[in-house]
Structures are given as structure tokens and as C-alpha cells.
Symmetry: C2
Subunit: 484 residues, 2 copies
Amino acid sequence: MSSATFTLLLRSHLPEQCVLSHPEDLRPYECDALSAYRNTPLAVVIPETQQQVKTTLQLCSENRVPVVARGAGTGLSGGALPVTDGVLLSMARFNRILEIDTGNRTARVQPGVTNLSISKAAEPYGLYYAPDPSSQIACSIGGNVAENAGGIHCLKYGLTVNNIQHLEVLTVEGEQLTIGSAALDSPGYDLLALMTGSEGLLGVITEVTVKLLPIPATAQVVLAAFDSVEAAGTGVTATIASGIIPAGLELLDNPAIRAVEKFVNAGYPVDAAAILLCEIDGTADEVSAQIEQVSRVFRDAGAIDLQVSRNEAERQRFWAGRKAAFPAMGRLSPDYYCMDGTIPRKHLATVLAEIGRLSSEYDLPICNVFHAGDGNLHPLILYDANQPGELERTEELGGKILEICVAVGGTITGEHGVGMEKINQMCVQFNAAELTQFHAIKQAFDKQQLLNPGKAIPTLHRCAEFGAMHVHEGKLPHPELERF
Amino acid sequence: MSSATFTLLLRSHLPEQCVLSHPEDLRPYECDALSAYRNTPLAVVIPETQQQVKTTLQLCSENRVPVVARGAGTGLSGGALPVTDGVLLSMARFNRILEIDTGNRTARVQPGVTNLSISKAAEPYGLYYAPDPSSQIACSIGGNVAENAGGIHCLKYGLTVNNIQHLEVLTVEGEQLTIGSAALDSPGYDLLALMTGSEGLLGVITEVTVKLLPIPATAQVVLAAFDSVEAAGTGVTATIASGIIPAGLELLDNPAIRAVEKFVNAGYPVDAAAILLCEIDGTADEVSAQIEQVSRVFRDAGAIDLQVSRNEAERQRFWAGRKAAFPAMGRLSPDYYCMDGTIPRKHLATVLAEIGRLSSEYDLPICNVFHAGDGNLHPLILYDANQPGELERTEELGGKILEICVAVGGTITGEHGVGMEKINQMCVQFNAAELTQFHAIKQAFDKQQLLNPGKAIPTLHRCAEFGAMHVHEGKLPHPELERF
């Protein structure tokens, strides 16, 4: 069936306002926040009811037309990049909060609701939703589930997978599945975790029940400056080893500190090699006891300066710098590329040193601003897309950084997903047996390979072409990585 | 191939001491802790190396012989019940702790290691493994992963799935999979969660890396007595609503209190309709602040008596009664049947009342001792297996209790798994589309259906025979359950 005929078929089954197919209407859906990749879909469907989602999936399924689901399009790995011969299914109109259940401390919401609006709706009851990606004002909860999104507070409160309880999902054939339950555990295989982070490859989420937590009584931040990145890394591991789980523990290196201070006056020490921002939340007693303990740990690790927020305004100011870090990069460079890999905390200092070495080798500046407490790196590579070859060099450098993460026993993603961006690095992370098992699971949900095709899990053929550099914990066939 | 020929084949590939096939050697493996079901396997294999597990699986796979893996055999749902034409694969000799990594706070262990021995090995470093099933002195960590085991402390610290980080698994074809990573998140589908609680249907676990936590500085228990089960239920929901997550929150009803007090002198008030045991752990400041807060919550809920443990000996005494509850049942009745269902906390009082009504209807006494904080019920049905028909009546009553759990939005298992025991109730919990999806996942791992066949996920045919009473949240076609 031609694209035009299929579009007519969609129009004959769905209301006028639910189907877009004119080129100018399709343009906004060409990419998500990984805008280096762009495709025009054959049509965009924006359903308003569960039945319309079902109809769309059934039509696609029967006619073997690929479907890419999209939340708010804020994803950084290209998970919502359309395919040219497929439908882009926008869940933007599923934007209602259906129920706040204070007794069970849950919120039942539609997938297009933004992350932040859940916390806003829960606030009158003294509750909030803990995972807080930087994009929380815009990103949708459905997208958060699809990518297993994280955020500053996930160190203490867990990722999306730890904060949801129940999903309504449509399979690619339009069959409805109820996944999870109101209980801690659920019999049968753990489809709730399997669906979370599956990047739109297994089904379309039509409803999410999230867990809510009581808003902490109070919170304070310690800002600690160090004269070496190594000492800051020691501060991170020593904090966790001391038994404290901070509500957030972030690291900024010197290039990031300087960029941020030029942009917002957060009061960061511009000569420090690195700073740590450590937030403690809880009751007033707990917070003051742990702030004291963390300050001691940081001093023992060699902190050269310590500031503790004295009031809410100061706490906000300390965070303002961290939050402005990404926009601040715009002052330094026309473009930047945000990487996302995770490593065991104990390797922080060596990996940051290696990233510095690669930065010199590729002659591309790198700023580091990241979730140090859980070892989730976000190196920001600064480049200029108008310089011929610079994007390609940036991508190559980014790939190298991810391979270092794998070499030290970490992973190629912390919270942004694999999508299109890191599909080659999946060949580094997993061996053929593991990738084959992933494909078998895909097959169990989507025999025709229609949901978000070509993303997240590479074919073995692709890995062979890429060089299939599979490693586990240090056995990478790259001589320069041997020492990890 | 005959059973005898296949046993010869096993013997030709494995050392003498690894294969048992004489009838008297097979007897101890006929059942796990659900001893009402018994089967003699064709042979028992007790491998000592990963290669021997691999060989066993390859031989079974090539010859289409079923395999049931077994840890310590302490499971209560028949998950390790052998099949008569299959191999029972005992992982008992995989009993080494391979590494305690204090920096990353993990322990890498073989699957046959007991739950408690991990905490013992970690103790010198001030660390422990949090999930604590009642059988922790005997049960193996491999079995804990297979069943997603819980325990008293899982309310605060999560189930097994929340406390493991990394698995080595062999597929039924003997292919090795490395699952999970040292990082918080891992790319690809979440096989770590999928494997956890999959009851031996997807693969054989050969190594587990668990997370360790710092041993809390101190702990105290509040023992609160109530003159109605309803008031105790209110105490539970009000505690959680107040924002406190106790380290444990257990309920005993009057029959359980009386049984326990006759057996050990724990100092429980024998006239109370119910007691709550609430443990708080953490730093001394935290504990004293929260003990005060919980006491206030319990008083507001109508507690008629409150005792707070004044020292470690008293804390141990308060718990001694709870821990002796199961053995104490032996004083009351020749046999008992321990159920395991989970409900949303807010329904505690109504469900306990309904269980009381069913107890009268079936003329079988029931004691309730359970993890109230997470709504995980453990009704103990007292019966006499020597009275004709009494086991059957007990099983029918147990099935009714599980259906009530589903009817109020809960599940048929909290921590014991489905196994053989609850396979019919899976038809109540899930609809045909959901069961079909489960079977597709099984297919993705085990095409020939050789791993632990006939357990955990019922065929649609079986559900049709059982009456396929699928419900979701109160729409059960049983008139007597309509009011939930």
C-alpha cells in the first residue's frame, strides 16, 4: 500500500484533527531533542482516546506500517525519531491527571502529562513525584517510562522504574495489557520493569500509575570546593561509604564552573578544580546531623572550601548554577553534545582524567557536570557544527568516552536511553548471545518489528560492520584502554 | 530416549558424585517445602562447576528432557517440585562467597550461598544484605532471586529485585548471559528484573551480585495493642501516610498472639484483638524522633497499650514472638497451610473480616501473622491432613482468600511465588492477552518448554478448565465478593 493510500485509510478511521500529513504539518515531528538526526514520517497521528490509539495500531499492524510513539520529544538519544515509511504517534493529547490517591500515595495519569505537573497536582496533599529529569517542565511521564528517566534526586529515590506501580499498555496489535499492581510484588514475569526503559519497542503506554512521596520537611545543600578532580571523586565515594545517601550529589569541573559563573552568579569558586553540590533532605534533625557528617567527610577528602546553604534562597542559588549549566554552554560554543554514560563511582577520577586526555587529542573542549553520586557522567563536548568534520569528530570522541565507561564496568547510558545515538555502542556493551536474547524478547511482543524499528538494539549484522568490539570489565581489544 | 539411557548419558559427561539416580538418593529431592506435592525426578544432578551446569543443560536441551533447578528447597509454592521425566538440578554446591566489594558496597556470590551467610560475611565491614525471608538461615540467594523473595525489612529496603545488581545466567541451551551492571541503569531491556521472580522458567542462575547496606547504628521496636483489627489497620495506614517508612511493620491477630504466647513468652498482651510490631532503624536521633512520631500515630489510631523496647534484649524479645509464630502453630494443629497474598493497605480491616467469615464457613481456624506495612497477608489455615477431605477444604479456602486479594486490587503472591500452588489463581489475576504475553516471553527464552514446565504461568486451556474467573479491581463474577 502506498503512503498516500495508507494516510487515506487512517483518515477514514480517525477524526480529521487526529491525522496530519501535509509536509508543513509534519516538520515539527521530524526529530526529537537529538536534532542531528531527522526523518519525515508518512503521517502524524495525534489520538484523543484509547480507542483511537488502538485503531491506529491495528491499522499499522494489519498493513505492516512502522509506528514510532512520541511523548514531548525532549529525548536526547533520538528515541522518537520518525521512520520515513511509518506513522509518528504523538501522545500529546493524553494530558490528564486521572486520580490522586493519597491513601495509597499514588497518582494515576495519562502518558502525555508532564513530569512536573504530577508533582504540582500532588503538592496540595504534601506529596510529590521523585524522579526529576532536567527537562521535567516539558518531558512527559510516558516518555520517562519509555526511557527509564533519572534526575538529580534518583540517587536517593531511584529511577523511574522504582517509582511506578502500574501501566496500561497497548500491544502493536492493539491488545490491552494491564501491568503491575497496587502491591509491592506481582506474580508472573516482571513486565513492569521490562516495559520501563524499553524505548517504545515493546508497546504503547496509555496510562501510568506513579508512586508519590511525602515532600521532605526541609533540605539543605553543602557546596564543597576541591583543588583536584581526584579529591572531589574521593569526596563522592567517601560520602556513600559513610552510609549517607544524599538527595542529590553533583559534580562540576573547572570548565563547567567557569561557564556557569559567567552565565548566572551562583557564587561558585571559579578557581576550584571541581565542586560538589550535596543536598540532604528530611526532618530538620536528620538534615542538620547529616549535613555535619557530610561536611566532615568532604573536609577529610581534602575540600578547600565549604559553604552550607543557610536558607531556602541560598539553597536555590546553589542549585541555580547546576541547573543553568546546559544553557551556559551556549555562551562558550555554538553547539554542544551531551553524553550520558555510567561508571562505578570508584573510577570517577581516572575516567575524568582520560576524558581530559581525549579532549586534548581531539582538540574539542569538554565540560563535566553530572550526577556524581550514582556515577552517571554527562560530558558536554563543545563543537561548531559549521566547521566541516567537527560533528563527526565529536561523535567519534563521544563513542570513545562510552567505550571507556564499558571498559571500567559501567554502561553506555545512565538515563537518556540508547535510541539511534548509541546503537553502535550496544555492540560494545553486549555479546551476541545477549543481543540475540534481546531480539527474542522483541519478537515476543512485536513479531513484525513495527514498533520503533532500528533503534535501541542493534542487529548482529550491524555490530559485525561496526567491529563488534564486545568487552566485559576491562577486556576491551583497544590497547589504549588496557590499563582500566 | 529412555530415562535409564539418559541417566547413562549424564554419567558419561559428568563426574560420578554429580549424578544421583538410585531411588533412595532421589527421595530427598521429591518436594520442596510445599510437601503436599511430590514427584520423583529421573535423576538429580549436583554440579560443582559452571561447565557442568552448562553440560547438563546442553544434554537436556538436545534430548528434550525437562530441567527443574533447586536452591535450598525451602520454597513454599512448589517451585522446585521435580517433574517425573526430568532432571532436578541442585545448585547446592555453588556455595562460595566470591567477593565483598566495600567500595561499591556489593557482594558477588554463588547461587547456593544462604541468604544469612551473605550478611555474616559482610558484617566485619559494617555491611549487610537487607532482604530477610523467615527462612534466611537456610534459603539460598539463587532461590531468593528466582522467587523475588521478601521479608520483614523489605517494606523499607525493597524486595530481592531492588537489592541485586548483576546476574550470570545460563540459558536452557547452555548459553551464558551477563545481566545488569555496576551502574544504576543498564541499556537494553531490563533482563535483571525479568529474571528476578521468574521461578526458574527462563534460565539457570550461576552467579549473583547483591547490593550491601550499612548496618543501621541502632533500632527500636514499638509494640502496640489494639482492641480491634480495624484500629490496628488504621494504625498501619496512618503510619505510612505520616511519611514514615518503618524498617518493619508486622501485625498479629488474637489467635496468633495466643498461640505465640503459649510457645514463647514474648510479653504480648493476650487479650488484644491485634498487635502491631513497628521497628525503626537508623541513627539514634532519627530513631528516637520517629519512635515518638509512630507512638503518637498509634495512639491516635486507638492503641490501648504501647511498649517501646528499652534495650537490644527487649527488642529481640519483641521479635521472638513474631519469629516463633510459624513453629507455634504446630502446638495448635497437626498441620497448617501458609497463604501469601498482597492487598492495598487500606483494605486490611475488611479483608481480615472476610477471612474470619470464611474461617467460620469452612470450620477451619485461621491465624494472621503478616507484613502489614506492605499489605502482604500470611493467613495460616490450621487443619489436620489425617481427617479425610480436610486438605482439600483447606486448599479451597486458601484459593478463596487469594481471590479476595485480587478482588480488592491486590495480588495472589507477596513473596512466595506462584509455583504449583497458585497456578489456578493466575487465571483470576490475568486475562488471556496477558497470559499470552507471558507465554511469548517464555518462548523467547525456552522454545522447547524445558525449564520448570507446568509451573507459574498456566496455559489458557488450564484456565478455561478452572473457570477462567478473570477480574480486575472488583469485577469478580462471585456474588459474595461484589461488595469489595
